[in-house]
Point group: C2
Chain length 497, copies 2
Amino acid sequence: MVSPAIRVAPSAANRALNLLRTVQYTHPPNCPCHKNPNHHHNHQQTPSLLNHVKRRMSTPVDRSREKEYAFEMAASSIRFGPGATKEVGMDFTNIGAKRVCIVTDSNVAKLDAMKQAVEGLTREGIQFTIFDKVRTEPKDSSIKEAIAFAKPYKPDAFLAVGMRRLCNRHCQTNEPIHRLPRSRLPRLRQRTLRQRPAGRQTPPPLVAVPTTAGTGSETTGTAIFDLVSKKAKTGIAHRNLKPTLGICDPLNTRTMPSAVHAASGLDVLCHSLESWTAIPYNERTPRPTNPINRPAYQGANPISDIFSLAALRSTVKYLPRAVRDPEDHEAQSEMLLAATLAGVGFGNAGVHLCHGMSYPISSQNPGYKHAGYEVDHPIIPHGVSVAVTAPAVFRFTAASNPDRHLAAAEAFGVDISNVKRESAGEVLGAAIAEFLATLGDQPRGLKDLGFKAADLDGLVDGTIPQQRVLMLAPSLSKELEAEKGELRKLLEQSLDY
Amino acid sequence: MVSPAIRVAPSAANRALNLLRTVQYTHPPNCPCHKNPNHHHNHQQTPSLLNHVKRRMSTPVDRSREKEYAFEMAASSIRFGPGATKEVGMDFTNIGAKRVCIVTDSNVAKLDAMKQAVEGLTREGIQFTIFDKVRTEPKDSSIKEAIAFAKPYKPDAFLAVGMRRLCNRHCQTNEPIHRLPRSRLPRLRQRTLRQRPAGRQTPPPLVAVPTTAGTGSETTGTAIFDLVSKKAKTGIAHRNLKPTLGICDPLNTRTMPSAVHAASGLDVLCHSLESWTAIPYNERTPRPTNPINRPAYQGANPISDIFSLAALRSTVKYLPRAVRDPEDHEAQSEMLLAATLAGVGFGNAGVHLCHGMSYPISSQNPGYKHAGYEVDHPIIPHGVSVAVTAPAVFRFTAASNPDRHLAAAEAFGVDISNVKRESAGEVLGAAIAEFLATLGDQPRGLKDLGFKAADLDGLVDGTIPQQRVLMLAPSLSKELEAEKGELRKLLEQSLDY
């Protein structure tokens, strides 16, 4: 119970008294003994508080083994509607922004989404500049290039148009960003580490307009890059990096070719399946001692589950229609919504094996050029590299939670009423393989992408560093050699089916 | 397509050129002709933009009849977990707050939630003061009282512990706040009108810790009060007023008496049922000309639907257990989660008839004192005043969307496979009445609360001003006399059942 002494009436005299009492109840702000809960101290305390603190400190525990007990959900505000892009100028006026830096790439800059955005800003008399040099595989130097462009312009807000490029990398972090020492990180991240900080540390508003239905980047706070000096893929992953507002305008995805609908939709499929089957948040270790260290990729939780399952059901229903018929605007719109829902789901739960293995699959591409992608170099689209291992992955993970895997199979339309729990993996794996086959020109395994058995060890070695996502994989061994063996088996089973 | 001229390389020369071009593309910031889309102008424009603007302006339309085409979802970040309250001190440290104003009432101040919060702040060395004079029916003077208390303390953040009091009023706004002229509103609202404004206009961070499982206030941006000079219930309703973080700690609801579990759970039930059945967002008129005028209570939409239906299913499953057994902590925890989910649902879709009629039911209380509420004055708890009309309300609204009402009946466990669509209202109404009966000491209609047939006209007159929620009611007539007749009939049908 709170001492009545600190509940005071708002008279001037009492306010003064209250201030004194507050000081009495309050330690000097930087008292180091409060940073370490295992360190005793001898501050003046009211007896009850002191006893409580003593009680807490009497039993030292190995925190690295303590399991998590809470989860935290955060998502950008989302506006969804055909034509909503043109409102973006008013949004910037409404937040008081007068100089906007638009960030895009040279392809997206030619799309109608960009035209609508530029016209929206122009109508409102907002000044803007356009950075159209976003790279597919950004290095820290790419980020510095963007900063060097934006800084002299002194924008008070940012507008991202098209974010497909960011997706390829959302899983490729060797270690959680908050565990890297500050000196290893670019300045940008140091400015944005704190959650919604008071005053000037708040990052400027960011409005994000997706032009594909896949990444869900408009809801997540992850940006990945090569830290060249350390030869490491790492990233800035923080809830504070979430866009202020995501504008999901189904008119903006109508220009996607059928092959892009399919590949980006497969990303949505795996976002939802992986986050739905990720280890539960309360099985994750270690429990963070400070809530700021609770990762966004925290494991499945009751709220992310709602998003992931809804996105999965929608994808199964609408993706084949969106791929088949370029005029099926209802299906395309539903896929954009599914991508956003899946983004909220995996953005707060995480992804695991399909995404973990997709990185070496993409980067060790033996020369495969996906049909329908008009580029002059070999390419395994991100969604394709993710989905190719999905049948094997979910056969493997089913043992961790057969009921969840049966529910996923049911979302694919399987009648599970007579399926035994031990068959959950087989049934879901088959359902996924069958679903992939309905989408047209999809590879039937890694062999179709040009990989041979001799390539498997390289793929395993490329997967192992993806610990940020592998730690969320159910059923996976924690011992390195065993883990390698399991990954190798999954990749082997993915050679063809 | 965007002119290549405005996509520039980031060299210094090009940046200068780009600035010039940007100016060319940009109107003076305060040009009034852009505030009114029906007003012609003769600015220098590039031909394509000019043609586009001309085309838009050549067909004047009656915007008041245009239906909405977009929806916008926003919710606070939510942390959920038993014991999470004690993390709140670290949260304030993490956001850089050093002086916190705790807002609570004198009853909640005695609860363990408050103790945990105070200890959390103390451990982190954060200074704080406590305002414990939150009122059940706040007037504008109550808000001024709180401001007068907080202002001299100069807090850089706020912590709300317990928000049950706010709930009673979330539906009692005569008109949407954004339509009131600025002069009619207290200063507070003028400071918070803009969405996440740049710089100093951002409201200070607010962390909210609910102590009941009902209102969902930890996720919503609505605060209601009596504007005494205008004899009007009005409110501050804006996404920017959402808490920065809601901490949902199931330990904090364990002390609720069974009657409070039941009453606050009935609020959750109606939040979910009303938001699930509210008119669809794209049937709402008028379409706002500026996204800032898109109300939070925008009608049902595909994302609010997910929350509302999940909350409904959880409430049906867990509320009877939470009411029956004070030791059923799983059910209590699930009800806290359901309250939050329903909060996100109705906070982005709205409520309608049950909430609209609950205001006069509560305020015109003939003398009913709800069992289990240890107060010295008559009281109809908010959840009870809301649920008492629910069977009649959903019988009435079913015609607007029988499928949705059947899905709701299914959530109550009804086998709907052989139910005809025209029976949806009957079936759902019966399911709700039966559910209420399982919760123990609930009134079986307005008569049990002491109302007589002669009181009905007064209740109708008290409901009519609640246009903010009535506008979301499906099936309700827009013509005043017809609307009154329908409300009277609903109240009459709610006298007993």
